[in-house]
Amino acid sequence: MSALALPLMLAIILGLCGLGIVGAIRTRWAWLVHQGSAILCSLGALLSLIALILPGSAALALPIGLPGKAMQLALDPLALVFLLLLFVTATAASLFALEQHAAEEARAIPFFPVFIAAMALTLLAADAFTLLCGFELMSLASWATILYRHEEDRSRSAALFYLGMAGFSAACLIPAFALLGGGAPDFAAMRAMPPEGWRAGFVLALVVLGAGSKAGLAPLHLWLPLAHPAAPSHISALMSGAMTKVALYVIVRVLFDLCGPAQPIWFGAPLLVMGAASAVLGGLRANMESDLKAVLAASTIENVGFIAIGLGIAFLARGADLAPLAALALAGALFHVMTHGVFKTLLFLGAGAAWHGGGSRMLQRLGGLVHRMPITTACMIAGCIGLAALPPGPGFASEWVLFQAILAAPRIGGLALQTSLTVLAVLMAMATALAATAAIRLLGVAFLGRPRTPRAAGAQEVGFTACAAMLGLVALCALMGLFPTAILGLIEPAIRQMLRAGLSGQIGVVGIQPGAEVPGYAALIIASLLAAGGVAIALVLRRWAVAGHRRGPAWAGGFAAPPAWLPFGDPATQYGGASFAQPLRRALATAVLAAREEVDMPRPGDTRAGRLSVALRDPAEPWLFAPIGRWREKATSLADAMQFLTIRQTLSVMFALLVLLLAGIAVMEAW
């Protein structure tokens, strides 16, 4: 099957590139571009699903590439898992984009199919050149879409920052691949000679930094809350749902597949540390951001951290020859890739719908959308069940597997490892709780309550195809939540390929059973219990509750009594996003995010309004990015000074370098 699927995948990629050219020539044919990419992506999703069910691998050499080297493509279970996710989310995004809302979104049209094609090319690549081509094309295409509102300073600076991060990841990944395989670019040669010693350490560091910065691992996560809100909604959905996963794919491909099974146990440590930092920071920031999409982007950081922790545990367990545990951890990571990819795409599309309908992405300008946009709100609730990891949602299933892996992980090593893994588990639990708070805050402030602005009060539901796209994703979420064993069955060939050991015996018919002594998780049973409980409560309420209802004054949690000129009360006094975040801000963010609150209270008799202003600062900013910026300034001023050296000074520099070189040679010869 794979042998047939690979040429078809290539045709889909070429078709998407063609659609990009069409979109560049005729922007009025946006419908053609988006319909075409929806059709192609749904075909691709179907193809990957079939190829996953009928396992096999295939390879193909293209007649183009570096001089004397053909570009290699290959299709194997690991690539198929990510391709399935990519094409599913891209189908939904294309359908959503069929209703182009703003005229300036037309600028992003040609880049959208190219972006999808580049991600697919990265996943299909079987040599370093193809993979890097796809990866960089993906970065550039998404950079162009971030710039679609280039009149705004914020968009431009976000795009510039994003481009800098993309350059950084390229500068890390290219040497990483050069260190692998003794200079040969194809993956087969790299597998044949896995790196050892310092070489393996360098590859690990470079790949974790290069691909990790694209995935959003702390401390290289700063670009996500800046860049994701700047792109059009359907593209930020893909960036969060698919692109970060493509970066994780590169990590899995290089560290599990190309580096071979004989790597030491500490190989997982950087992933664990960065993953834990991302999980907590992302979860906390998701509670602090006031932009809908920035909230979602911060939560992406948190989820990417979870996935990285899963990968790290898999490394530890593989190094300690605990194959079932490694398989469980990798299964958790890949499962979370799938579930997070789907529900985060759904949430981004919903946020885009709310932005379009409510006229703003700011929490303090939305509210009460449930009355005007019931379908979008229902979809957001479904997505938030995933985000908050509530059973029987998709997020719960995958995070449950991850937690099982980390709870079983302490048997890998000695006391130090056990202690740090326990701390890690606590941090993960905290991140989960933070994610749940963020989900409640997102839903409660933006969609419930009363509209805070007239624009939000007059919100309009999005059209049919956009609703269809979101409802399709809701159905997928429900499927993944209720039938986790089926998804794990789809993922298993990839795990078998990476670890040469499967999940045999850990997946039952109804539920997941990681070990004999551990209670399993049967989603259907939990769901039916929950449903039975819900029905019972409803019946009880119906039987014994007071009949009828009456409207009373709202709970006065900050909701002031209505003044005479505002008979329904001032909606701006509702409990808002910033107020919801205040306890967390004071308890945690003061230490982690350097949160500061300043109260500007007017003196008695002064009629101006009092103000409470809040300032937050991500720790990566003063500790990492600000020093880098200063070094860059110094380096450029040094280079600038070189330009104005006198002739004799220039000659002296050359002379000194020459003498230094000769002295170095002399010393090395004498040695």
Binding site: I647, F655, L662
Partner: protein, 228 residues
């Protein structure tokens, strides 16, 4: 290249003396302050170079090196010094005395550079050639190159910088001549290169003089500063 050229044979000693003489002349260039004397030393160096090339032609039994010797003599011992003297008269700077490093300091630096070149060349060429002579020639040539570069750095006058460059180039020719089997083309081209460089620098002098009424390259530095 039948018999081994070793220490104690006439061919080795002669080549050694000529190479050593060129090195000594490079040292003389390094500390000499009078422009007229510098040009004379340079002419002398060109003559020694011609003699070295001729001697190499004799011991390697390769006639093309005689051509090189004649070219070196004509260009470096006669034409260029005459032209430089003419330039000095034309620019009216016979009496100028130039600041340079002191004799002691320049000698110390020069000795250090020579030691460095020998330390680099002798071990690196150990495996490549069993003949000691080309290796020592190479080391002498590298020292002359470094000394020429040092002279270019320490001088302010454009003309003496040019002489430094030319003596650097003498070192290159010495290296080319000392290696058996080096084709003539290379030597011809490098000789021409010197002439071309000489012409370029000649034009350069007139431009500087027209613009600033002096040959001091410090004036060029001020040009850069005005754009700052």
């Amino acid at each position: 290249m039948g018999e081994r050229i070793a220490f104690g044979t006439l061919s080795y000693d002669m080549a050694h003396i000529l190479g050593g003489a060129m090195l000594v002349l490079s040292f003389a260039l390094l500390y000499q302050r009078r422009i007229g004397a510098i040009i004379k030393i340079y002419a002398l160096q060109g003559m020694v170079l011609a003699a070295a090339a001729g001697w190499q032609g004799y011991i390697q039994a390769s006639p093309h090196l005689y051509v090189t010797a004649i070219i070196a003599f004509a260009a470096k011992a006669v034409t260029i010094p005459i032209a430089l003297h003419w330039l000095v008269r034309r620019l009216n700077m016979q009496r100028e005395i130039e600041t340079a490093l002191g004799v002691f300091l320049s000698m110390i630096l020069g000795v250090g550079l020579v030691a460095l070149s020998f330390l680099v060349v002798m071990p690196t060429t150990l495996a490549a050639q069993a003949q000691p002579l080309p290796r020592e020639d190479l080391a002498v040539a590298l020292s002359m190159l470094l000394l020429g570069l040092l002279m270019m750095i320490t001088r302010r006058n454009a003309l003496t910088q040019v002489v430094g460059f030319l003596s650097l180039e003498n070192g290159l020719i010495l290296a080319a001549v000392g290696i058996a089997g080096m084709p003539l083309v290379v030597e011809l081209s490098s000789a021409f290169l010197v002439l071309v460089a000489f012409i370029v620098f000649g034009v350069f002098f007139f431009r500087i003089r027209d613009r600033f009424d002096s040959l001091d390259v410090r004036h060029l530095d001020h040009v850069g500063e005005t754009h700052r």
